[in-house]
Point group: C2
Chain length 233, copies 2
Amino acid sequence: MATKAQKFRLALVQCLPGSNKVKNLQRAAEMVREAASNGAQVVSLPECFNSPYGTRYFPEYCEPVPDGDSTRMLSELAKETKTYLIGGSIPEKYQDKIYNTCSVFGPDGNQLALYRKLHLFDIDVPGKIKFTESDVLSPGQTPQTFDTEWCKFGLGICYDARFPELAGLYRNRGCKVLVYPGAFNMTTGPAHWELLARARSVDCQVYTAFCSVARDESATYVAWGHSLIVSPW
Amino acid sequence: MATKAQKFRLALVQCLPGSNKVKNLQRAAEMVREAASNGAQVVSLPECFNSPYGTRYFPEYCEPVPDGDSTRMLSELAKETKTYLIGGSIPEKYQDKIYNTCSVFGPDGNQLALYRKLHLFDIDVPGKIKFTESDVLSPGQTPQTFDTEWCKFGLGICYDARFPELAGLYRNRGCKVLVYPGAFNMTTGPAHWELLARARSVDCQVYTAFCSVARDESATYVAWGHSLIVSPW
């Protein structure tokens, strides 16, 4: 649309979820409002922004989408701040399964996308980290994009970024920005976080945003942090 | 083959081709012999090891393959040194076209592969570098692998490394090592050389070798150098 500005401001909210879900939602909302008040038109939250990250927590913190507290909050917050709000992810209860799920809401509060993490994070680096999302979570089945007045966006969550095929699929569908809410750790973070963001951008000639939770050295899963946005060149 | 050692030594020859083709071949041969005498069992030369790199040079330096001086030298040298010799690339004259072509020879001197660069390097970074391989070269049509007693190898040349699809195809065919003779420049080198080698390795869980010509500040095309081998992790 030639009359629309081609530039927009994307903010990544690097919040620090703790064990109190109500406080997690409040803090996320405060930070989204702050981003919007600074001119952000698209805002992303990180992976598991309403819960500590860990297989032991997912059954306790999971909710239905869009009829749970976290997703209702996102819808209202998008409308209040007039932003496109990429709701990081939350553990989603659906039928008898739990998914790692990202919901996106438009400035009118309507849901634009529901994306369930495709590539579950099952890793065993001897002596460093062992983590098996598939013990508790089920994988999604479907890539998801959404449209804004500026461009089309593609969605992934964390370990999804390890797979160039998903990014290439989004590129082929015309996406100009790929957003991956994530929570890499102190082993995979220094090894691959920046590398993968840059690789996806250069390979696909798109902008890539990795939005992480903040680092909490006292957590059972210590996140790398370092949220970043990479240009295509 | 369980009785064979799984480890082998791969050497990258970062030679400095000048305008004298005979000297280029002699120098490349000396360095391959040196690598073999130091235990290398697989040796790669860089892109355009027999010629300066540049569209003006390709018509002058091109040769038939395998019946030209450069390819004959490679065959004899592989046999002499008992190495798998990945002949970087040379401008190849075939029918009425010129290709950027890599030939591979086994320790018995027999040709194992002929690979013609698939993705021609047409680039225009305003104020930095403009280069159009397709002014003179024709693109190849076919990925190429070759087998050794250790594993299967996949071949690309330089800009081919920008395309994860080719690396993914080789991964799917069972390659454990990807070798890209290359000649990135002073713009694309610092931006993408190491990034792409690491990305191809992590994406495909293979070893990736980028073998560059050395840097010659007086050349019309100044190469980045920095030959490297990257592990899958």
